[in-house]
């Protein structure tokens, strides 16, 4: 039983951005009251079915925002197989600390998630962690070999909500075409990691003047965009459902915009680091700037934001990619790709985009909660009466220095390490259960 008062509720699913009070019962939103009007004690007692107010936990959210829990369509939790980088428990802790109540865990673990037993393992580990809702993404092809399709129907029954060989692009166009056809049996979107390996070659950052200056091998923008174009056309031809992961080039945005005009069932995500950093920020001795797809040019970045604002691009996603300190302490060219995102992404975007008036809080939440929940047919994404009480109480004034010690993730590979950020979640509930309070995980009793 929870009575949340005086919050500023941002819930694009109901078109609400207003003062509100909410009552939570049995893990769900029991009543929502918007505007200046306050709930009376009687209304509270009646709605919650209790006789005394002392049985109701009350939280006064004056000056705070309440968001439906964020849904992150792209995380790497590394379990099974690479638990030195992260595991489902530590990843879930990082998720809720960052305001994410649902995550889609990618399949590029060791072994890759290509059988029902493995899908169920990931789901079960998520339940054991008991924090965020962990939805498994299963592989498109067995062993990520890019040839034979996985048993998508069985995988879906085991809990998979999407299919992806993320980490690798599916190089064979015919394999992709067949996968788009076959996945229709499940209704789940295929998430495409668009990377033509012949173009990407041995590159380690975006090809351009910055890569030339640093003497690092460049990845041309076309390595991504030619495959986005291919997959958009294949989705159009097959009538399949495609979601483009981590869009990072302006050409990809143009292609997706055109595909949507043609009525192709395509959606796309953008990673916060691609909106906040460019190839000019890359430092030779800090491999936290090494990420795939690589940090874009300034021009690409402007078009990405434009695409988010005009609806061409549907959602934000962190592509949370933890790596060990030892791996990231290698020279730039030899370090693995990836940025640790869950605990800094919301704050970083809040500080750099919302506070600078480049994006409205309502749009931010639409992109990070409502849209991904809808696209992947997940519960959550809104707080209308009857919805699960996945909620984030967000303090726009909260300032925090990001340090290795403060992170719940096992890894520290974030470009925001040792930087001060503003705007953090201070309380997070999943299904009505309080899982994070005052920036700390609520430990199981």
């Amino acid at each position: 039983m929870l009575w949340l008062k005086n919050v500023h509720l941002v819930d694009p699913g109901q078109g609400i951005s207003d003062k509100a009070s909410l009552l939570i019962k049995d893990g769900k939103v029991a009543k929502l009251c918007r505007g200046e009007k306050q709930l009376t004690e009687e209304e509270v007692l009646m709605t919650l079915g209790v006789s005394e107010l002392k049985d109701v936990k009350q939280v006064d959210g004056e000056g705070k925002f309440l968001f439906p829990g964020l849904v992150d369509a792209h995380v790497h939790f590394r379990e099974p197989g690479q638990e030195d980088k992260e595991d489902i428990n530590s990843g879930s802790r990082a998720a809720v600390r960052g305001g994410f109540t649902s995550v889609l865990a990618m399949a590029n673990t060791q072994p890759v998630i290509d059988t029902r037993a493995l899908v169920e393992f990931v789901r079960l580990q998520g339940e054991r962690a008991g924090l965020a809702r962990v939805y498994p993404v299963a592989a498109v092809t067995k062993g990520f070999q890019g040839r034979e399709l996985t048993e998508m129907v069985d995988l879906q029954k085991g809990g998979a909500v999407a299919f992806s060989d993320d980490g690798l692009g599916i190089q064979s166009a015919e394999t992709m075409r067949l996968a788009l056809e076959y996945a229709k049996l499940t209704g789940c979107p295929l998430i495409s990691h668009c990377e033509d390996t012949s173009l990407a070659g041995q590159g380690v950052m975006r090809k351009g003047e910055a890569s030339a200056r640093l003497g690092l091998k460049g990845i041309p923008a076309s390595a991504e965009s030619v495959m986005v174009a291919r997959d958009a056309l294949l989705a159009g031809e097959t009538g399949g459902k495609i979601h483009i992961a981590h869009v990072s080039t302006k050409e990809s945005v143009w292609v997706i915009r055109a595909a949507k005009k043609l009525g192709i069932d395509i959606s796309a995500e953008v990673n916060p680091h691609h909106l906040l950093l460019t190839d000019e920020d890359v430092q030779l001795t800090n491999s936290s700037y090494k990420v795939n797809p690589p940090l874009p040019s300034r021009e690409d970045q402007e078009v990405l934001l434009e695409g988010l604002l005009d609806g061409t691009l549907d959602m934000l996603a962190t592509d949370h990619a933890p790596h060990t300190w030892e791996e990231k302490m290698r020279p730039f060219a030899e370090a693995p790709f990836g940025i640790n995102g869950l605990e800094t992404a919301l704050a970083a975007l809040w500080q750099e985009l919302v506070l600078k008036d480049k994006i409205k809080p309502e749009k931010l939440i639409e992109l990070w909660s409502l849209n991904p929940a809808k696209r992947f047919a997940l519960q959550g994404g809104t707080l209308k009466a009857g919805s699960p009480a996945d909620m984030v109480l967000f303090d726009p004034e909260w300032q925090e220095r990001v340090t290795a010690e403060s992170l719940e993730s096992k890894a520290q590979n974030t470009p925001f390490l040792e930087k001060e950020l503003q705007g953090f979640p201070i309380m997070v509930w999943v299904g009505g259960k309080l899982v994070m309070k005052n920036r700390k995980i609520v430990e199981k009793q």
Partner: protein
Amino acid sequence: MRWRHKDLLDLDNLSAQEIELVLQSALSMKEVLFRPIKKLPTLRGKSIALMFYENSTRTRTSFETAGKILGADVTNFSVAQSSVNKGESLLDTAKTLQAMNIDLVIIRHACSGASEFLAKQLKAGVINGGDGQHAHPTQALLDFFTMKDRWGEFKGKKVLIVGDILHSRVARSNALGLKKLGAEVVLIGPPTLLPPEMGYLGVRTSFDLDSELPGADAVMALRLQMERQQSGLFPSLREYNRLYGLTRERIARTGKDTIVLHPGPLNRGVEISSDLADSVQSVIEEQVTNGVAVRMALIYLLIGGTSNVMA
């Protein structure tokens, strides 16, 4: 002027005056090279470690000779050619060097930024002996020394750098430094090896060697890696040689007493013809001699006097 750097990693942070200081110091070092007894007590008791993660005979030997003439103890660390999943990490190697109290580390590594990485970890000075495609400052400085030796000054001089610009740390460091010194630089190569982003250097680029030859005071050929052909970057040695190979006939078209440079090792008959390499216009052997002098100067500036003691 005093030397104020702990390391020499690239030419980005060196002013024209500092480059001139290195060249000036190298001049007196070169005199030592021609003495009957080539040994100075200057750096007695100082230790230098050479860490060459990439194959190199001339650069390594040049540094080794330079250190020994100055009286330092020079140690060759045998390191794995590639550090990924092989042997010790660069970080652990750095810690080992630190523990041994080495005064100066000279590193060559296939990864851009490896020398900077080491420099950040170490109290000792670090000289970059070439990192990936990023920088090769000592090669550039010895090239400048060689040019200055002939010209006296850089203003108004035209230098062509010809070949695989994209993959060349020598071209990058030379272009950066020559620009600072006031020379005109033109980078020349086929479009596949001279992509538009090389424009970051702020010097002119051209695909046409022949049209740039008139008026050139120096032409530098870069070594062509044969495996670039397999990667499709140029179709054949034959066509490469026809378009970009330096010959006596071509050099004659500069209309000047042009000098020809090459960082070595040479692919005779590919980027440079044999007769040109052995002609009076070629300063390739002088480059080698000057390399020792310039490296002596750098080692001295970094760990020699008291003027460079870091806080």
